[in-house]
């Protein structure tokens, strides 16, 4: 039972990390119609920037500056790249970000080399916070959770209380409204793109040292973010939040499940079939083997029965 | 018997009741105009008839057969074709291709992928004839997206009539045209309408009163009057609700 709670809390943490990435992506996607393939690349850049800054000064310097740098870079890319492609349609935009992901990965390899960099958890947070039945819970993990919650609250406040936030909200449910209202839409797009990737950058800052900072980290995160965004529903931040948690927790929980089909047959009183021939593995696949594909399974099923996603306000 | 009949039609979007009980019979060969103020539900009515939406209650029958609830392509195959308020053409294809696509189903080529389109029956000849009819022969190889507005409207109508449908729905065919273009276009529509049943939504009252055999007035999702143009002009309820002082 304790293990179960530990795993649950851990799934929550993973889900929150996913949400830090998917929140920006969902804003960008809903507002601009661009499925940003390079989103995880900004996450990676956040980690590398933070590594570089923490080698100059402290981890805290990186925590503040790295997301800002990523945001500025993102805004510049929107201004000089995406905006140019915009007139060629969504496929071109999508492919642009696709190429961008490619390029950023090579750039990171170019600057920081091909090996993982030693980006480490700050010493001040590197201790055990509490222990549940022999399992330590580290302070850094609590810190990550704290940052994720703080970010969630900040984004909500930003959306509810500021003018830009209200504009974004209006645009999420009725994308045509903004044009009609004569706002400076290109600037808004730039802001949202910059802000969205800055959130991804922040996730990189706190996730990079918890996990590993290496050129492959963007690709590893990669497509699961799209799953969350599409699964949560277009235009719904709350949907993205729920989807992040569902996927985070489900994936974590599935790992602890080892029952295979032949176990099941045996439990029901039958004899497990003799595993021979093609597809014989079907009898020995446990949910823990399926954890990484589970999101995609969910995605395909959901898109077939409910294309607008969990809490989507409109079809794409 | 009426060729197209609408019985007790309702359509709600959530709490909004857009169409609130419409009964209307369109006779064979008739040119029927639907007028009404903005937001009266004219476009929704067309979308209900043509299959874009399915009604919340009531039904539409074509040739006596129920068509509400069918997909647009199924309704089209039963002989009802529509045009759109905003030109709805294949912008990346040339005029000839646009018309040829519109002709395909009625030429019986189906989803054929083993014969070249040009060799499929008399489809090319028919496309040329149609191009002549709508006056776009000179622009046959031009990209549809590059046509002038009026030409796009003509193409839109051409695609609507291409399949040989017996009932045509025109959704504001002259919207956005200048005065001169409207006049030419009205003549063109009159010619097109010969031998066919037409239902048309239109804002230009001159066009409506010069073309229509009968007129229905739609206000807040209900038909408040149906009748010959002169009766409608004289109807006090219509004058009050819609035509106002300028009629």
């Amino acid at each position: 039972m304790d293990t179960f709670i530990f795993v649950l809390v851990n799934g929550l943490l993973y889900g929150m990390l996913l949400f830090m990435l998917s929140s920006g992506l969902t804003l960008i996607f809903s507002l601009m119609g661009v499925l940003n393939f390079a989103h995880a690349s900004f996450y990676m850049l956040g980690a590398y920037f933070a590594y570089q800054l923490s080698s100059f000064g402290s981890f805290w310097l990186g925590l503040i500056l790295a997301p800002l740098l990523v945001g500025v870079l993102g805004a510049a890319i929107e201004r000089f790249g995406l905006r140019v492609v915009h007139k060629h349609g969504h496929v071109a935009e999508l492919l642009f970000t696709f190429g961008l992901a490619y390029l950023i990965e090579e750039l990171v390899r170019l600057i920081w080399g091909r090996q993982p960099v030693p980006y480490r958890i700050p010493e001040s947070l590197d201790f055990t916070l509490f222990t549940v039945s022999g399992i330590d819970y580290s302070a850094y993990r609590a810190f990550m959770l704290l940052i994720a919650v703080a970010m969630f609250v900040a984004v909500l406040l930003l959306l509810k209380r500021t003018r830009v936030g209200l504009m974004v909200q209006a645009a999420l449910s009725h994308p045509d409204v903004l044009w009609a209202m004569g706002h400076n839409v290109p600037r808004l797009f730039m802001l949202v793109f910059g802000g969205g990737v800055a959130l991804a950058g922040l996730a990189g800052v706190i996730g990079g040292n918890y996990l590993v900072t290496e050129p492959g980290m963007a690709q590893q995160m990669g497509t699961i973010l799209f799953v969350i965004v599409v699964f949560g529903g277009l235009g719904s931040l709350l949907g993205a939040f729920l989807a992040s948690l569902i996927i985070g927790i489900a994936q974590t929980l599935m790992v602890t499940m080892d029952t295979t089909l032949s176990d099941l047959v045996a439990a029901l009183g039958g004899t497990a079939p003799n595993a021979t021939g093609m597809f014989r593995e079907i009898w020995t696949i446990a949910p823990s083997n399926l954890a990484p594909v589970f999101p995609y399974l969910l995605l395909v099923i959901l898109l077939i029965v409910r294309p607008r996603g969990l809490l989507g306000t409109r079809d794409s | 018997m009426s060729i197209l009949s609408i019985n007790g039609l309702h359509k709600n979007f959530g709490a909004a009741k857009i169409i609130q009980g419409i009964d209307l019979n369109i006779e064979e060969g008739e040119f029927h105009a639907v007028i009404g103020p903005n937001g009266a539900g004219k476009s929704t009515l067309f979308n209900l008839i043509s299959g874009q939406f399915s009604p919340s209650a009531g039904e539409v029958t074509l040739h006596g057969q129920r068509i509400s609830g069918l997909r647009p392509y199924q309704i089209n195959r039963r002989g009802l074709s529509r045009s759109f308020q905003v030109s709805n053409i294949f912008a990346q294809m040339n005029v000839f291709e646009n018309l040829r696509c519109a002709l395909m189903w009625s030429s019986g080529v189906g989803y054929c992928f083993w014969r070249r389109a040009a060799r499929s029956g008399d489809i090319d000849a028919r496309a040329h004839a149609l191009m002549d009819e709508i006056g776009l022969t000179a622009r046959g190889t031009d990209m549809a997206g590059n046509l002038s507005y009026a030409e796009q409207r003509a193409l839109e109508v051409g695609m609507t009539i291409a399949g040989g449908a017996s009932v045509l729905l025109f959704d504001e065919p002259t919207a956005g045209m200048n005065h001169h273009e409207v006049e030419t276009f009205a003549t063109f529509l009159k010619k097109i309408a010969e031998g066919r049943t037409v239902m048309m939504v239109e804002h230009d009252m001159n066009v409506v009163f010069s073309l229509a055999d009968r007129i229905s007035v739609l206000v807040y999702g209900q038909i408040i009057a149906t009748g010959k143009p002169e009766d409608i002009r004289a109807d006090p309820a219509v004058r009050e609700a819609y035509l106002g002082a300028d009629a």
Partner: protein
């Protein structure tokens, strides 16, 4: 324009096929030199080049001929590997070396085998410097293929020897990547422990997806609740470092028995998290020359570090080049058929001790060192981490066990 010139260049390379130079013996090194796995290719490339330099520096082969390495980028794709193989053939190269990714290795082995069967008069020699998958010298063993490093089963045999000696270990948890190598490690561990220490309980036998787990904490929670005091894993790269980091952060104090913790980047990534509890079964670690008091191999490691500013990781690659040199000398020619015949039963006095090529399946037997990651009594640290490896158990070549029954067929 570009298209044309590239095509022209392509055709030209093809037409220049027979322009082999007489006084160098060229060896094609096929590996990922670009893309996501280029780090692997680059490190291997340094070792292969270094091995050739060692041979050349000692006077070369035959009458002063030198070994030349020609690198081909396969981007870690099987079909690019086959294309690179054809290009190497075009250039008149008949000795190929490769090992990264068992999938690619098996594809190349397959291509080489087919080529040799279809061109019996002009065979190609395939030198594998260290694929983990046992099947290369099992069901896939081939007369023209030689493997110069112990496969995962042999390393696991050494690792389980140490586990068997450690009385504090009562419960073992096996975790590995869900593909061939991970399954082999699991199978071996279970078989060997059952034989060597039947009292040890296997409390977990887990496979996780290859390269896609970001957070190992749930797995660590499972290990914790199983009460294991040793974890056996065949993981490498980020799958290994993430596992150890997660274990450290959750307070798991079990010992880790690995095969790849000492190779490039991993000591850095593990760092203090692995101190005193990560064990590694490998043919080499930086302190081996010190422990063996072997001046020559210490010098070799130092030369490598001076040249490439990096630790020497894969001593077996150097061994491979040295043995190739000796085989060419023994055969008196660099013809693959002659070299293969010379290599087949060769004994070699390597930098870590005597080594023996097994004639039946062309698997090299060499000493293995099971060592612990520590800062206690270390002379040469690993990757400047301040931590290094200390041998706890040395298994000599003739003690290394492998139950392969494969028998190569002489053409």
């Amino acid at each position: 324009m570009t298209l044309k010139s590239i095509l022209a260049a392509t055709v030209a390379t093809g037409l220049l096929s027979s322009a082999a130079i007489a006084d160098t013996i060229r060896i094609a090194h096929i590996d990922p030199f670009s893309g996501a796995f280029s780090n692997v290719g680059a490190v291997n490339g340094k070792h292969v080049q270094f091995g050739a330099d060692v041979v050349n520096g000692a006077g070369g082969v035959l009458d002063g001929d030198t070994l030349e390495i020609v690198r081909f980028d396969n981007k870690l794709s099987a079909q690019e590997t086959v294309i690179a193989f054809q290009e190497a053939l075009d250039q008149g190269i008949r000795i190929i070396t490769q090992a990264t990714s068992s999938g690619v290795a098996l594809a190349l082995a397959d291509a080489v085998q087919k080529y040799n069967r279809r061109n019996p008069d002009d065979p190609v020699l395939y030198l594998n410097y260290g694929s983990a998958d046992p099947s290369l010298t099992r069901d896939k063993c081939d007369y023209f293929m030689f493997r110069f490093e112990a496969h995962s089963g042999m390393k696991q045999a050494a690792a389980t020897d140490l586990i068997a000696q450690d009385d504090s270990i009562k419960k073992v948890y096996i975790i590995g990547q869900d593909y061939g190598h991970g399954h082999e490690v699991s199978r071996y561990t279970k078989e060997m422990l059952a034989e060597k220490r039947p009292d040890i309980e296997i409390v977990g036998d887990e496979f996780h997806p290859f390269g896609s787990v970001k957070d190992f904490t749930p797995y660590v929670a499972k290990i914790l609740s199983s009460g294991a005091d040793a974890v056996v894993t065949g993981n490498f790269g980020s799958d290994l470092t993430l596992l150890i980091k997660a274990a450290n952060s959750a307070g798991l104090s079990a010992k880790f028995f690995t095969q790849y913790a000492g190779t490039f980047g991993t000591p850095t990534a593990i760092g203090d998290a692995g101190k005193g509890r990560v064990y590694d079964a490998a043919p080499w670690h930086p302190d081996v020359p010190v422990e063996q008091n072997n001046e020559a191999s210490a010098q070799m490691a130092k030369d490598f570090e001076t040249k490439y500013d990096s630790d020497l990781y894969y001593v077996q690659i150097v061994v491979q080049m040295q043995m190739l040199g000796e085989a060419i000398n023994a055969a008196g020619s660099a013809e693959p058929a002659a070299v293969a015949a010379a290599l087949e039963n060769m004994s070699f006095d390597g930098p870590t001790g005597p080594m023996q090529m097994r004639a039946s399946d062309h698997q090299l037997f060499h000493p293995l060192f099971v060592s612990v990651f520590t800062d206690d009594g270390i002379t040469n640290d690993s990757e400047d981490t301040g931590l290094g490896w200390k041998t706890l158990l040395k298994v000599d070549a003739d003690q290394v066990s492998d139950d392969s029954t494969c028998q190569v067929e002489k053409p």
